[in-house]
Structure formats: structure tokens, C-alpha cells
């Protein structure tokens, strides 16, 4: 635990200081009216509340696992607000804030982490792909999807999420390279939350992650990942760049995983409380809230309203999870192939007969 990770980074784009003051940046501007500012706060607060419910439900035995987004709300909500409807998102597995931002029913996420499905939402409905658990794989899918958009002159962009640890995977470098060579309209959105389970950044990379991009031929930028305005502005610019045929870009959102890696993890084994404390003082939600209050945009009623909305969302999730039906056993054999497979049919029939033998036995 020799290298506590400081909660600031050099050269990061910032539009909002930790105490909630707007600052200008030469390259990234953002006109953010009251409605947008309030919406950002609300979305972050709701995401955090639903996420907390995930942790609770897992503790209560309702979920197999929950990977908490705690601390990463600004990055995810900022990015979500930058997206156009026909942009497509390829998430990792911690991107609940983006899922909500795309309009996905959170119960879909909970079904996954309850062990009811391995994904199971229709990505086309919200232009939000399935979660991907194999680290880094989705960066290639996103790149291919973006190559398709370019072939079709679709004018839309693709956003793909991954973590700091993921940057070590060969697939991610291959994705960078394919994106560069094919000038694919894809934005690589890396949430550098400082940790890959128990491994800090310096075990993954020798230099800041955003610097990786230049060597593949496209720009990389580091943004203060706890600054929702900066995340929004930078992501918006990158997406627009992609949409207008100027190729890929890498965004490193410099943030912090304030909780455990997942509910299975015990971070006290590998990091100091002092580090967590330092980052807690840079809480992304506190920052936008400070700004709202400083600007007089958040009265009691508004704040109470957000809390209420968050509670309601959490309640809906809680009830939904508790009453979530298990899948039918025979679902094991569903949707493996689009056009069928004789062996699956054979095994399904055997399975049915076997199940029926119990029904018979119980009947006796």
C-alpha cells in the first residue's frame, strides 16, 4: 500500500472545481443551463441510490454479485448526456449510470446479477449493448460496429466503456489500432478508477492511460472524471468528432472506485482508508450539488424531489428483484442457435423426459 493514489491528476480537463465553481478550459466549453445542471445531479443521485440498492440486495442474498459504480457517477452520467439517440454504447459491467441514461430498465441489470439471465436486454431498443464480462472484448465489438457505421455513412458514433485494467489487454490495443486504421467513429471511454480489483494503476501501465492513443494515431485526453460537466463536454466533443468523420478518440476519465470491486471483494486488504477518504472529499455528486447550491439552483424542494425519485427507483428495484421469477429450466436450451442445432434438440428432449420422470415420481 506504498503508493496512495492522489485524487488529482495533471493535465486533466476540468470545468468544475471540487468546491463547485465553474472554470473555463481553452479546448472544451459547455453551455449548461439550469435544467441540464439539475438533470445531471438528479441522474447521478438516482444512479447512486439504485447502485446502493444493488449492494444491499446482494448482502440480503437476493443477488449473486453487484459491482458498484460508487464514485463513478460523474463519468457515466456525463457521458450518457453527451450521447445522441442513435449513438450506440458498448458498456463494461459497472456502467449502471450509462444504462439508466440510455433508458434501460434497471431490473434488467439486476436480473443479470441475480443470475436470472446473462444479459437478456434488447440492445437495439436503447442502443445499449449487453454488459461484457471478459475484460476488453467489447472494445473490438464497438470498433467493428463503428466500422459498419462508417461503411453505411450513418453519421452516428459509438461509445465503448472499459476500465484502467482493461487497457493491458491485447484486444484493447487491437481495437485502438483497427479504429485508427479504419477511421472508425468510436470513442474509447476509459473510466480510470485507479484500481483493477486489487491492482493499482502502476501495475497496469507506466504512463497515464490517455497517452496510449497517440501511438495508435488518434488523440487521447484526460478528463476529471469526478467533474460531470467536463465529462459531458469532452465526451460530446469526441462523439461529434467521430460523427463527422474525424476518427476515434480516447477519453480517460480520472476517477475513483470508492467502494469494493464487487460485493465479493474486500478492499481493506489492499488499500488504505486514507486514500479512500481523500477521494471521498472529491465526491462527484457533492461537487455538482455544491455548484447547484452556489448558483442557487437547488432549493430544498428540488433536493427533496431528487431524493424521493431516487427512493422510488430503489423501491421499485427492490420489489422487482424480490418478485423476480426464476427462468424455466428448459431455458438452458433456448437461443443457443438462431437456426437450430440437432444436438440441442436431442438434449432438450432428454432433459424434458428426465424432468418428466420426476413429475411422475412425485405423482406416485
Amino acid at each position: 500500500m506504498a503508493h496512495p493514489i492522489p485524487p488529482t491528476a495533471p493535465d486533466q480537463v476540468q470545468l468544475l472545481t471540487p468546491d463547485g465553481r465553474r472554470v473555463a478550459h481553452p479546448d472544451y466549453r459547455l453551455d449548461a443551463g439550469p435544467d441540464l445542471l439539475r438533470a445531471l445531479y438528479r441522474d447521478m443521485a438516482v444512479a447512486r441510490r439504485i447502485d446502493a440498492e444493488g449492494v444491499t440486495l446482494q448482502r440480503q442474498g437476493e443477488l449473486a454479485l453487484w459491482p458498484s459504480l460508487l464514485g463513478q457517477e460523474a463519468a457515466q452520467v456525463g457521458a450518457a448526456h453527451a450521447l445522441a439517440d442513435d449513438d450506440h454504447v458498448f458498456p463494461s459491467y459497472r456502467d449502471h449510470g450509462l444504462a439508466l441514461g440510455r433508458g434501460l430498465d434497471p431490473l434488467k441489470l439486476f436480473a443479470l446479477f441475480r443470475g436470472v439471465s446473462n444479459g437478456g436486454w434488447r440492445s437495439a431498443e436503447h442502443n445499449f449493448h449487453l454488459y461484457t464480462l471478459v475484460i476488453g472484448s467489447q472494445t473490438l465489438h464497438a470498433t467493428g460496429y463503428a466500422m459498419g457505421a462508417a461503411l453505411e455513412d450513418a453519421g452516428s458514433a459509438v461509445l465503448v466503456c472499459f476500465g484502467d485494467g482493461a487497457t493491458s489487454q491485447g484486444d484493447v490495443s487491437e481495437a485502438f489500432n483497427y479504429a485508427a486504421v479504419y477511421d472508425a467513429p468510436v470513442v474509447f471511454f476509459c473510466q480510470n478508477n485507479q484500481w483493477a480489483i486489487s491492482e493499482p494503476n502502476h501495475r497496469q501501465t507506466r504512463v497515464p492511460i490517455h497517452q496510449r492513443a497517440a501511438g495508435f494515431g488518434f488523440p487521447g485526453v484526460r478528463v476529471d472524471g469526478n467533474d460531470v460537466l467536463a465529462c459531458l463536454a469532452v465526451t460530446r466533443a469526441a462523439l461529434e468528432r467521430a460523427r463527422t468523420g474525424r476518427g476515434p478518440m480516447l477519453i480517460e476519465a480520472y476517477t475513483y472506485r470508492m467502494g469494493a470491486h464487487t460485493t465479493s471483494d474486500d478492499p481493506t486488504r489492499y488499500r488504505d482508508a486514507a486514500e479512500v477518504d481523500a477521494w471521498t472529499r472529491r465526491d462527484p455528486i457533492a461537487r455538482i450539488r455544491a455548484h447547484l447550491e452556489r448558483e442557487g439552483l437547488a432549493d430544498e424542494a428540488f433536493l427533496a424531489g431528487v431524493d424521493e425519485a431516487a427512493e422510488a427507483a430503489a423501491l421499485r428495484v427492490r420489489q422487482g428483484v424480490r418478485t423476480m421469477a426464476d427462468p424455466e429450466p428448459e431455458a438452458i436450451f433456448d437461443h443457443i442457435y438462431a437456426d437450430g442445432h440437432a444436438l440441442v434438440d436431442e438434449e432438450r428432449a432428454e432433459f424434458r423426459a428426465y424432468q418428466a420422470s420426476f413429475a411422475g415420481a412425485e405423482g406416485r
Binding site: G119, S123, H129, S137, Y178, A338, D339
Partner: protein, 338 residues
């Protein structure tokens, strides 16, 4: 004799004679003409036409946007093809040689094969991966392997291998037209084998085995490059008065063991022939299933002739490693005298 070629409607047209490689080229061309969503991806498949010239002329005629010379990264080829497929494209990929598919194995196994199930049926992954495979061409390491078992074990994939130009054409057309990922293994040492191809005829089902030569005393089963070996053996055996039936399995996943079992019930004996190592190879699965389905008909255990549990040897030794006619004849002897 109807059993010897896939049953199909007689169209009255004269089939053209093509080499197996040319038949694949023709199938790609026809598929691209029929569906603008078919794109080809791979290393050196553009101006060069692939190291085996299987994509010859296609880059010239369909251009850079339909025939993509990719960076030298197989995981990238499959991974980006998945993305393209998610958008409705139908990528047909070329892996340059059997031994170079492994960098893409993760994407194939964890993503390509599983995404449809993961999505609960919302997604389809119509991606065909063409892999020239097998030995007998005197090549250096990694250029002569037969890794089909490593794909057949994976649910979500289909695995096929043609043995004739006609099958090469039609099975590829069917694979491309279908909505599942298909690993299409091309018997590279048979690329120059000539045969009739009727591109107008109704094809045989993609995953059905075919009896290539009827016989009474013993059944030989192969697929891809070993079907020719089996037919050669049958001919030699006939000269010695032995009537050998040859079944071309055509599909490794699913396996049409029904057609094979029907044959074995008649002959009572089976030798499975493939180039892949026998240990944990397709012959094991076939033996297990056929023994289950024909337990009282088998007069000898199912024998397997194939590669040894050894890396594919240097070219000067490959004839000792491959399932040659002599080795198959030896297995026939052992089966008949069991």
C-alpha cells in the same frame, strides 16, 4: 446410387466442373452478389486474393468496402466482425492458416459463440469463419493442423467441412445465408481437386451426412480431406473383395450420427478417419455416440485413425503422421479380425 451424391432436384443444367478452391471463390462471389451485407475480412484477401487465391478477383470487383484487408490481428478480425454482425452485416472471415486461429479463440469462444444466448435470442451472429486446414501440403509449422474439435466442443458454434467442390460451394452458401456463426474448415490439400458444381441445384441440408459409397462389410467415416482417403481405401479394399461403405459426415457440429448409425447397423463395424489428433478428437465423440446407438450391432469396437498425440511433425514426416490409406486399411483389417 442416389445415396452417393446429395439428393437434389435435377435442374437439367449441366454442372460446371470446378476445383474445390474455385468453388469456394464462386460461392463467395455469388453470396456477395446476392446480399450487399456480405463483407469479406482477412489478411491478404484483397489485391493478392489470399495466399491460396480463394478470394481472387473479389477485391477488384467489389472494392475496398466489401473486401477488407485487415491488420495482422486475428482477435481483431473476429472481434470487429462481431461488431459488424451486430449491425446487420454478414462478415465472412478468412483465417490464413489453421494454426493462426488461436489469437481469435477468445473472441470466438466467449463472444461469438455466446452472444446470442447472452442476449436471450435478441441478437444473431451471422459470421462465417473460413479456415484452410489440414496437412499434406509440405508446409512449415502451424500450417497443417486440424483444430475442429476445439470448436465443436463449444456450444453456439457450428462446424462444417466439405469434401467435394459441390459441397464446398453449397455449404459455404448455406453457412453465409444462415444466422449462426459457422466455422467452415476448408481441406486445403484438396483445393485443386476438380468436380462438378451445379450452382442451380437445390442443396443437401448443411448438417446432414451423406453416404458417398455404399458397402456391406464395414463403414468408414470421414469429413473434409479424409473423405477422399476413405474412397481411395474403399476402392483398394474392393480389389481384395471387401465391400466398404464410406460416409461423408460433412458437419462436425452438429454431427449427423443418425445417418452414420444407420450405416453401422448394416455393416456392424466402423472406422473413423480424421487428421486431427485422435485423443479428444471427433472420433471419440463419434465412437461414444455410435456405441451408444448401435451397441448390439457392433461386432468390433469403433476404431479411430487420425493424428497422434504429438505436434504436427515437420513436413518430411507428415506422411507418417497423417491417416494414409495404408493406416486406414490396417484399421479395417483390425476391425474385421476383431
Amino acid at each position: 446410387m442416389a445415396a452417393m451424391t446429395p439428393g437434389r432436384t435435377d435442374t437439367g443444367t449441366d454442372p460446371t466442373v470446378l476445383s474445390l478452391g474455385r468453388a469456394i471463390n464462386t460461392a463467395l462471389r455469388h453470396a456477395m452478389e446476392a446480399d450487399p451485407k456480405v463483407v469479406l475480412m482477412g489478411e491478404d484477401i484483397g489485391p493478392l486474393g489470399g495466399v491460396f487465391r480463394i478470394t481472387e478477383g473479389l477485391h477488384k470487383d467489389f472494392g475496398d468496402r466489401r473486401v477488407l484487408d485487415t491488420p495482422l490481428a486475428e482477435s481483431g478480425i473476429v472481434g470487429t466482425a462481431i461488431g459488424l454482425a451486430l449491425r446487420g452485416w454478414r462478415p465472412v472471415l478468412e483465417i490464413q492458416f489453421d494454426g493462426f486461429v488461436f489469437p481469435a479463440y477468445d473472441q470466438i469462444v466467449t463472444q461469438l459463440a455466446k452472444l446470442r444466448a447472452r442476449s436471450g435470442g435478441a441478437l444473431a451472429l451471422p459470421v462465417v469463419i473460413r479456415i484452410p486446414y489440414g496437412g499434406g501440403i509440405g508446409a512449415v509449422e502451424h500450417h497443417s493442423e486440424s483444430p475442429e474439435a476445439l470448436f465443436a466442443h463449444i456450444a453456439g458454434l457450428k462446424v462444417v467441412s466439405p469434401s467435394t467442390p459441390e459441397d464446398a460451394y453449397w455449404m459455404l452458401r448455406q453457412a453465409i445465408a444462415g444466422n449462426d456463426p459457422v466455422i467452415y474448415f476448408e481441406p486445403k490439400r484438396r483445393y485443386y481437386q476438380q468436380g462438378p458444381v451445379d450452382t442451380a441445384a437445390a442443396p443437401h441440408p448443411l448438417h446432414a451426412a451423406v453416404v458417398r459409397r455404399p458397402g456391406r462389410d464395414i463403414t468408414l467415416a470421414g469429413y473434409g480431406p479424409t473423405v477422399g482417403t476413405c474412397l481411395e481405401v474403399a476402392e483398394e479394399a474392393a480389389a481384395e473383395g471387401r465391400s466398404v461403405e464410406v460416409v461423408d459426415l460433412r458437419s462436425v457440429s452438429p454431427l449427423d450420427t443418425d445417418t452414420l448409425a444407420e450405416s453401422v447397423r448394416r455393416t456392424g463395424r466402423l472406422v473413423v478417419v480424421h487428421e486431427a489428433p485422435v485423443f479428444f478428437g471427433a472420433g471419440a465423440e463419434i465412437a461414444a455416440r455410435i456405441t451408444r446407438d448401435c451397441f448390439y450391432h457392433l461386432q468390433a469396437p469403433v476404431l479411430r485413425v487420425g493424428g497422434y498425440h504429438a505436434p504436427y511433425p515437420p513436413a518430411r514426416l507428415e506422411e507418417e503422421y497423417l491417416p494414409t490409406p495404408d493406416r486406414v486399411l490396417d484399421a479395417i483389417d483390425r476391425s474385421l479380425s476383431f
